[in-house]
């Protein structure tokens, strides 16, 4: 290895197929992808093209079928589920289309979870700060069921960045937000990513948003197209 830092994400010919009663359904068909430290990359593509699946692979939530995938220096194919989970805990924050907050926990507890898992002191204070940055300082004690969709999405964003990860994966993080709020959240994310050198992969259908990123990758039928 030379002195240059290795890429945060390095995928070579990655394929992913889901089993189904009628045989395997290919979803990703040989994806090549490299993302460097601190880079902000937009991923676009039509619905069903495999964007969310790609996020799941990089986040270690779904094992790849073939190819090689290095994330933060780890060869994912060689890691078991536990190792991938711990990688996620240490270094990756994820915002999902469907938020996936813990229903029984308050906004504050949800945002503090990564910090608590990491065993950090002052988890709640840090989480409070993060929630305030996404404009939810007044909703700390609310459960997800008492929050609007956009508010839940912002909690998810706060949670993703809370433990200062090296990589954040965001699947349509502003899909449910009005333009103004969406802009604020995106601004916050960019800020956080830039200030901490966090790489950010952003799935979006919004060309304007994509244009603000360092570069844009387009996915069609499970392949990165130029």
């Amino acid at each position: 290895m030379n002195h240059a830092r290795p890429p945060v994400v390095d995928l070579t010919q990655v394929t992913l197929a889901y089993p189904s009663p009628d045989g395997d359904v290919p979803v990703l068909n040989g994806v090549d992808l490299t993302i460097d430290t601190g880079e902000i990359v937009a991923i676009t593509g039509p619905s069903g093209s495999g964007k969310s699946s790609l996020i799941a692979i990089i986040g270690g939530l779904e094992p790849i079928s073939e190819g090689t995938a290095h994330v933060l220096g780890l060869d994912l194919a060689l890691q078991n589920e536990r190792a991938r989970t711990l990688l996620r805990r240490r270094d990756i924050g994820i915002v999902f289309q469907a938020y996936h907050l813990v229903p029984s926990m308050t906004a504050l507890q949800n945002a503090a979870l990564p910090l608590i898992l990491a065993g950090e002191d002052g988890a709640e204070a840090k989480a409070t700060e993060m929630l305030t940055r996404v404009g939810l300082g007044h909703r700390l004690g609310h459960r997800p069921s008492a929050l609007s969709g956009g508010e839940q999405q912002r909690v998810a964003v706060a949670r993703a960045f809370a433990a200062r990860p090296r990589l954040v994966l965001a699947d349509e993080p502003t899909g449910n937000l009005d333009q103004q709020t969406g802009a604020v959240v995106i601004e916050t994310m960019f800020d956080l990513a830039r200030s901490s050198g966090t790489a950010l992969i952003l799935v979006t259908h919004d060309p304007a948003l994509a244009a603000r990123c360092d570069r844009t990758l387009k996915i069609e039928t499970g392949r990165v197209v130029p």
Partner: protein, 848 residues
């Protein structure tokens, strides 16, 4: 919100939805149906059995006794004057019972069998009828034909002597022709002691010809009276009692007949009632948990219906109908199975007990059981269904985790239904006061469990949450609703199971003590004094025979203690059997070998006026001390003797035990038989001995104790198996109800686990957190439920069943084990249910 203005339109929507839902929706209620079916089957079976048994005993009471009142004397018949007096009070029937030997054929070496001989007059039976296989009338069957008296016998006589109808048996000096096989003897249960051989029924006149009754063998003379219609029964019974001869008699009314059977029945029905209530409580809790779970899972569907314009009432009615259809199906299945089981069991049992019973008798109870269950289910379902009414569609769509609260009105409705059901069950079960106390106990336990659940939630809320484990446990514990549901379902289940198992164990121990230990192999009855030495000689010459004990055997009746009539002298009502009827009596010069509790034996050469040795039970009955006097009758004569000592006999030996033993004079020279017991090293030497005895002492009745012990063990094992089965089914019901509570929030748990996994919690951490959380509720519920179950069983066994409380280790370990297993299962299902394995599974959940 409501897009449908008219009720008719609402109806149409409902019907459309119902059509779409019926097949699929009911399937989702499988767990509910299983809970209902088991509760219905179990409550139904025990209720039908308990009620059936006690009703059969009640309906057959006069048949069992053989009259409205019966008097019994032993050894010598009532004198003419007394009999005539009884005749004036009502219609009488005289019956004589004695144990004797039936010989197949007339040659001396032929095979023989100890039989319970019963001679009846023409008036017999005053109530009920004897059932003969051919359908003939009893008087015809017993009549003299071709110079031969008739006899009807139980099947056992034919098989064991290898005879057919029409063959001849010899009893005493008389030949009887077997005319028929007897399938039901209406007054069978009135036989005082238990029967050592099959029954042979002959006519009273024929018995006189055998000469058996005069030979000093033990004979019971029963006279039954049937009062004319519209007699004031109590007064009439008092009139009969006034005729009591000086020698004393045993007088019984129908409620007193078959005391021993009645006691066993009472215990059984009480146990059944308690088990039934426990099953009811466990089943209802399970049903409630299962419906709540089902509704929880359907939140999104409900929300979608609501959002697409169905009114609240349409949705509530839709779900109510689905639950009702599933509930009725399960109820019919459960009650049907219970009724079928009860018909088989009761049919079999009543036939064995010679009781009249018909399946149609069950109909009212079946209705009552069904009504009770339906009410209970309605209550449980209403409570659960209120979740549908209160569901906010918006919140349900958002993430399904909405806390639903019971509206006071619904809570009242549900509570009233359940209370009404419990009330019906209490009134309907054979022992209402017991059942009421049991139900009150269960309600108290439920209240305690709910409070405990609330307590856990309070503790949970104040738990520090700086670590992941602590935080997730706190989250799991702090919402009171689910925690209370789980503690309640688990706790009630464990209470019921522990209570029934501990009771069953105690009952089993009590039953087992009825199986004799250290019994001799043979008991010889009616041995004449001259024959005792002969038998002694034979046994001492034969190395394979030993353990010989020979004792004079007579009957006595205790009439008074220290000059106070026995009934008034009684201080311990539990021991009233010592004055009921005739009890065993013997005389001895030497100490019998029994342990002395107080006083001394008389000297071996004592020949003054009789002194007596009383068994410990007599002491307990009257608070008797050496020096007190007993007035008693023997062989029709009345004696008053000083108590020399108190003896303690070791029961369960099947050796003769004597309530009263006297010094030799004047009994030594009175006509009486001896009873001899002995043991053999092998079956062959025993049968050789019996064969020789048949020739040398044909009058002696041989009781094969080995066979009796075997039979007794069979009955007892049957009873034990029955109670074990009941406990096992209850366990199953409990397990189902627990699984309902576990499955109840699997979906919510899965969503939660996915979220936790996203932020990097490992499978193990999630499972551990679940385990810790459920272990806490599990442990609290198990401890509370187990303790409550123990207390309940202690009370039931000692107060209601009146047997010793011997819960056994299993009853202690059971609640702990159940709590642990359930906690682990719940923890695992939280973990397993939460994070799916396999490619694409997690992705499916993440997508939406």
């Amino acid at each position: 919100m409501d897009g449908h203005g008219t009720p008719a339109a609402g109806m149409k929507v409902l019907i459309t939805l119902l059509k779409a839902e019926l097949a699929h929706g009911i399937l989702g209620l499988r767990l509910f149906m299983a809970c209902v079916a088991i509760a219905a089957g179990m409550l139904g079976l025990v209720w039908l059995m308990g009620t059936g048994l006690s009703e059969a005993m009640r309906d057959n009471a006069t048949r069992i006794l053989g009259g409205d009142v019966a008097v019994t004397v032993v050894n010598a018949p009532l004198d003419r004057g007394t009999l005539e007096a009884l005749d004036r009070i009502g219609r009488t029937s005289n019956v004589v019972e004695l144990r004797s030997t039936a010989h197949a054929g007339s040659s001396p070496g032929s095979s023989r069998l100890t039989v319970e001989l019963k001679a009846v007059d023409d008036a017999y039976p005053l109530y009920g009828s004897v059932a003969l296989e051919s359908g003939a009338a009893i008087s015809d069957a017993l009549a003299v034909r071709d110079g031969l008296a008739g006899a009807v016998v139980e099947a056992d006589v034919l098989t064991r002597l290898n005879l057919v109808i029409g063959d001849v048996i010899r009893i005493g000096d008389t030949q009887f022709q077997i005319r028929d096989q007897m399938t039901r003897e209406p007054d069978r249960l009135s036989a005082g002691t238990f029967l050592v051989g099959p029954r042979v029924l002959v006519s009273l006149k024929a018995l006189e010809a055998t000469g058996l009754a005069g030979r000093g063998s033990l004979v019971e003379y029963r006279t039954r009276v049937r009062f004319p219609e519209d007699t004031a029964i109590e007064q009439a019974i008092r009139a009969v009692a006034d005729e009591e001869p000086d020698r004393g008699w045993e007088i019984q009314s129908p409620e007193q007949a078959a005391e021993r059977v009645r006691e066993v029945m009472d215990r059984t029905t009480t146990f059944l009632g308690v088990a039934g209530l426990a099953a009811f409580a466990v089943g209802l809790t399970g049903a409630w948990a299962a419906v709540s779970m089902w509704i929880g899972r359907r939140r999104r569907t409900i929300a979608q219906y609501r959002l697409s314009g169905a009114t609240t009432s349409t949705v509530v009615v839709l779900h109510a109908v689905l639950v009702a259809v599933a509930g009725v199906l399960a109820l019919v299945l459960g009650v049907g199975l219970a009724a079928a089981g009860a018909v088989i069991l009761l049919g079999n049992l009543t036939e064995r007990l010679h009781l009249l019973w018909s399946p149609a008798d069950m109909a009212p109870t079946v209705m009552l059981v069904t009504l009770t269950l339906a009410l209970g289910l309605a209550g449980a379902s209403v409570a659960a269904l209120s979740g549908v009414a209160n569901l906010s569609p918006l919140r349900a769509m958002r993430d399904g985790e909405t806390g639903t609260r019971l509206q006071p009105r619904t809570a009242w409705g549900a509570g009233l239904c359940v209370i009404a059901a419990a009330g019906l069950a209490i009134l309907g079960l054979p022992n209402p006061s017991m059942a009421a106390l049991a139900a009150a106990g269960l309600a108290l336990v439920a209240g305690i469990l709910v409070l405990l659940g609330d307590g856990i939630a309070r503790v949970g809320r104040h738990l520090p949450a700086r670590r992941f484990l602590a935080l997730t446990i706190k989250q799991g514990l702090m919402s009171p609703g689910p925690v209370m549901l789980r503690t309640l379902a688990l706790g009630i289940g464990i209470t019921g199971i522990t209570g029934v198992v501990a009771t069953q164990q105690s009952l089993q121990t009590a039953f087992e003590t009825q199986i004799p230990e250290k019994a001799p192999d043979l008991v010889l009855l009616d041995v004449q004094p001259s024959q005792v030495d002969l038998i002694r000689a034979t046994v001492s010459e034969t190395p394979a025979l030993d353990g010989l004990q020979a004792t004079p055997f007579m009957r006595t009746r205790i009439l008074a203690v220290n000059g106070v009539p026995a009934e008034q002298a009684l201080v311990n009502p539990e021991k009233d059997w010592v004055i009921e009827g005739d009890r065993s009596f013997s005389w001895t010069a030497e100490p019998t070998g029994a342990e002395l509790v107080a006083g001394e034996w008389w000297p071996a050469n004592y020949d003054g006026p009789p002194l007596v040795s009383a068994e410990e039970d007599v002491m307990q009955a009257f608070d008797l001390k050496p020096g007190d006097t007993l007035r008693y009758s023997v062989l029709g004569r009345v004696f008053t003797s000083t108590v020399a000592n108190i003896r303690k006999e070791y029961h369960r030996t099947m050796r003769p035990e004597f309530l009263v033993v006297a010094s030799p004079q004047p009994f030594r020279d009175a006509p009486h038989g001896w009873i001899v017991s002995l043991q053999g090293l092998d079956a062959e030497s025993l049968s050789t001995f019996v064969a020789d005895l048949t020739r040398s002492a044909p009058n002696v009745t041989v009781v094969d104790v080995r066979r009796l012990v075997r039979d007794a063990a069979e009955v007892v094992e049957g009873a034990i198996l029955g109670t074990l089965l009941i406990a096992a089914v209850l366990l199953l019901a409990g397990a189902l109800s627990l699984s309902a509570t576990i499955v109840a929030d699997v979906d919510a748990r899965r969503r939660e686990a996915v979220a936790l996994s996203v932020v990097g919690a490992t499978r193990r951490e999630i499972a551990l957190a679940r385990l810790a959380e459920t272990a806490m509720t599990g442990l609290v519920a198990a401890l509370a439920g187990g303790a409550a179950g123990m207390v309940a069983s202690f009370w039931i066994t000692t107060a209601a069943l009146r047997v010793d409380w011997t819960p056994g280790l299993s009853a202690v370990l059971l609640p702990i084990g159940l709590g642990v297993i359930t906690s682990i299962a719940a923890g695992l299902s939280g973990g397993l249910g939460a994070l799916p394995r396999g490619r694409g599974q997690l992705m499916r959940l993440l997508a939406g």
